[in-house]
């Protein structure tokens, strides 16, 4: 593949937000028909760089050249016109409008006086969706689509816009392996049409599978661009983190204790979960693997009382429970670290201390009189245990990095001293360094006797962290096995529904 003039040339770009110097000098070049991976810890400046290239923000220093021509006042509209398209982690779609209209609004030049041709919009949407193998009804309201479906709509929209430069920010975060392969097929097709793709992901295996070159960002600076073939996984991690990372996982030493939580035939018609039977022993990490839409988060919501169960029996320490609200679950000793950290995990505007004590207010202050000293003391205690990097416990939570916010959420549930802790994608969207720390914390919790139910789509994490693995498909548990004799292939086969030799535990 000949490498002609670079599509995109970013040299020594600088960007500040208030006192925070988000980018200190980033250089990057993208050629036509190249898949260029962008790697870096959270807060290294990846999303800020994207915002500069898409014109959402203007750089404070350095410049950006598209197709060899330096752009000074880049705005979303002008970037759009120059063929820059971006697919964000939080899909930038219109929930109340139809799929066809969402795609059309991304493609048509925004001229208010133009007539809308609905027939044309519908047919163009249909064939774009076909091209990427997504069978989604163009007239459906986006609000009713699942997260991966919304992501495919965004990809179709970018494709339709005839984008020359396609930026994908962690597109596979919530896709299944099957959908990831589909996406790689689309990316290879884009590459053959001489489109430049900037691919951002934490999953090193994906980068090696799809990217031609990789640039690593650290603390707002580009610290190296190399062809993927010329660099190994550990080199990349060292470049990213700038320090040695010990092996990520350590198997637990202590044998698990008695069963703490046992479910038999648990189900909830509304959320599509039916006859789930499993148990979690104290000191054990039960990994729950499965494809997106297999009902893992739905199961967690049932156990935590957000969508109460309408079938089966939930028994905690031998006592049968009826959980109708998060409050009941909390009282029974069940904690739940939700999947969507920004919306459910923590309240960003509240200070760190308030977030940590939010779930235990009735216990901490039975007569409902707040005593700020006790609150601050409890909060700083947990911040010390979990090594949360924050100036003071009174700082607003939005001033912390993603990893530290996740630790604050974790601290909140540890403060409730739960008997069972449910973790839903605990390390999603968290950088490698913080991911390792969270794993260390989970191991420590299990070792201290806590029963942990860990839902994760990150296969290496599930295999490495769990003592036992349950695989869910179609709303129920289809396979159960000890970590020792489970392999990525077996788990994926069970998740996909191919014949498995594994007997249910």
């Amino acid at each position: 593949m000949t490498m002609h003039a670079p599509l995109l040339q970013v040299n020594n770009v600088i960007k500040n937000f208030g006192a925070v110097r988000a980018l200190r000098g980033v250089s990057l070049s993208l050629c036509a028909g190249e898949v260029h991976a962008l790697l870096g810890e959270n807060g290294a400046g990846k999303s800020t760089l994207i915002k500069l290239i898409t014109g959402a923000h203007q750089p404070d220093g350095g410049d950006i050249a598209i197709g060899g021509h330096v752009e000074h006042r880049l705005t979303p509209a002008s970037a759009h016109a120059l063929g820059v398209a971006a697919i964000y982690q939080q899909p930038a779609l219109f929930p109340d409008l139809s799929v066809a209209e969402n795609i059309a609004l991304g493609l048509e030049r925004p001229r208010p006086a133009r007539r809308v041709r609905w027939g044309e919009r519908r047919s163009r949407a249909r064939d774009l969706l076909q091209r990427i193998g997504a069978h989604i009804d163009p007239d459906a309201e986006v609000r009713r689509l699942s997260m991966p479906e919304q992501q495919l709509v965004e990809i179709a929209r970018a494709l339709g816009a005839g984008a020359r430069i396609m930026i994908m920010d962690e597109p596979t975060a919530s896709l299944t392996q099957q959908e990831v392969q589909l996406l790689f097929g689309v990316i290879r097709e884009l590459r053959s049409h001489a489109v430049g793709v900037i691919y951002i992901s934490h999953r090193l295996d994906e980068i090696f599978a799809i990217a031609d070159r990789v640039t690593v960002l650290r603390d707002g600076e580009s610290v190296g661009s190399h062809p993927v073939s010329a660099v190994g996984e550990t080199d990349l991690i060292k470049l990213m983190v700038g320090r040695e990372i010990s092996t990520i996982f350590r198997p637990s030493e202590r044998p698990p204790g008695a069963a703490v939580l046992s479910l038999s035939g648990v189900g909830c018609r509304a959320s599509g979960v039916h006859d789930v039977t499993l148990h979690v022993r104290s000191g054990e990490v039960l990994g729950v693997a499965g494809l997106v839409g297999a009902g893992r988060t739905e199961l967690a919501r049932i156990l935590f009382g957000i969508t109460p169960a309408d079938a089966g029996e939930i028994v905690l320490d031998g006592v049968p429970l009826v959980i109708r609200s998060p409050r009941d679950a909390l009282a029974a000793g069940i904690g739940y670290l939700p999947e969507d950290r920004r919306r459910h995990g923590v309240i960003l505007e509240l200070p760190v201390a308030a977030n940590i004590t939010l779930a235990i207010l009735p216990r901490l202050f039975p007569r409902s009189w707040l005593r700020f000293s006790t609150e601050r003391q409890v909060a700083s205690e947990y911040c010390r245990d979990l090594a949360v990097k924050t100036t003071t416990v009174d700082a607003p939570t939005h001033s912390l990095s993603g990893g530290n916010q996740q630790k604050v959420a974790l601290a909140r549930w540890l403060a409730t001293k739960p008997r069972v802790l449910i973790l839903d994608e605990p390390t999603q969207g968290v950088d490698i360094g913080a991911k390792a720390e969270i794993h260390r914390i989970i191991r420590h919790l299990a070792a201290s006797g806590l029963a942990v139910l860990m839902i994760s789509s990150d296969l290496p994490e599930v295999l490495g962290m769990s003592d036992r693995i349950a695989v869910m498909r179609g709303g129920t548990v289809v396979a159960m096995s000890d970590a020792a004799d489970a392999t990525a292939h077996l788990v994926m086969a069970a998740a996909l529904g191919q014949a498995t030799t594994q007997g249910a535990a």
Binding site: P76, A86, F94, L97, G106, A113, V116, R144
Partner: protein, 312 residues
């Protein structure tokens, strides 16, 4: 079909009311009475079109009552100063647009919450009008002010035709013009709109200017029904218009809503007062009935979506 639940429930209750009237008080349907109701409802419909745009864009404007009064008085004064009727119409509509623009600058420019800005402008403009005019009517207007100088029948026809045209224009724009779709887009997710190259702040500003323009037009059409202009006109217009939009199915969370529902909402709420006279019901029940209609329409919709457990 089911997401139009609220539009259908309003249309059904309107038909039920009309059937009851046909049975109990057939003279309600005398042409003279129907025309009176329609000419009273026409300005409210025009303002309701503007309000639907504002609510679809996830904002609200409770200052249109004061705007309506000011535009009526300004039009009256212009007519009193022997200006040609075209100029008088221009004064009413342009002053409306200017008031709308003021709200637009505060909401879109400074990013202030629309309910608070329009609450402040409602009080300020209403009290300003009272301080300036001290309640005096605008009197002795030239012959060609009332009904634009036409005969009464022609004037009423013109008024209804204008309202119908404005309504159909807005229905067409909201469905078939990109500009109309931008309002839905910004109301649905302003940040996504910005990234798609639409300029949400400009759209919001234009929506408030349109609201003011429609209010000015509504004030003009209402004023020419009478030989003089009452400074207290337009009292409570904002509640009536918001109720009609909400009962008609425009979602207060923005991004959704059909204008046909709003038409049914305006007609339903306009028929209540005269219906009470015809049904010989005691006069003091009017406000209670209006309140319960709003609560019932909203509760029915809420109960349906809660039962269906729609994932919004």
């Amino acid at each position: 079909m089911k997401q139009y639940f609220r539009e259908w429930s309003v249309a059904v209750s309107l038909v039920v009311l009309l059937l009851a009237l046909a049975a109990l008080a057939p003279e309600f349907f005398k042409p003279n009475q129907l025309i009176a109701i329609l000419t009273t409802a026409a300005p409210v419909l025009i303002a309701a079109c503007g309000m639907s745009l504002v609510i679809t864009c996830r904002h609200i404007d409770i200052s249109i009552g004061s705007q309506f009064a000011l535009c009526s008085i300004l039009a009256g004064l212009a007519a009193g100063a022997e200006w040609p009727m075209a100029a008088v119409a221009g004064v009413a509509i342009l002053s409306g647009a200017t008031f709308g623009a003021f709200n637009g600058v505060m909401v879109a420019g400074l990013g202030l919450p629309s309910i608070v800005v329009t609450l402040a402008t409602m009080v300020t403009w209403r009290e300003l009008l009272r301080w300036w005019r001290e309640g005096a009517f605008v009197r002795d207007l030239p012959r060609d002010f009332q009904w634009f100088g036409l005969t009464q029948a022609a004037g009423q026809a013109l008024l209804l035709a204008t309202a119908a045209t404005v309504f159909l224009l807005v229905v067409f724009a909201m469905k078939h013009l990109s500009g109309g779709r931008f309002v839905y887009a910004v109301g649905s997710d302003a940040e996504a709109a910005r990234l798609a190259g639409i300029r949400p702040r400009l759209v919001t500003f234009c929506v408030f200017v349109l609201m003011g323009t429609f209010t000015g037009l509504a004030a003009l059409l209402n004023a020419i029904r009478f030989p003089d202009v009452d400074p207290k006109t337009g009292q409570g217009l904002e509640l009536q218009v918001i109720a009609a939009a909400v009962v008609g199915g425009v979602a207060i969370s923005g991004g959704r809503g059909k204008l046909w529902g709003v038409l049914a909402g305006v007609l339903l709420l306009s028929c209540i007062a005269p219906a009470l006279v015809f049904l010989k019901a005691p006069p003091q029940w009017e406000k209670a009935i209006q309140g319960s209609i709003i609560l019932l329409a909203v509760a029915a919709d809420g109960w349906r979506s809660a039962k269906e457990g729609s994932r919004t």
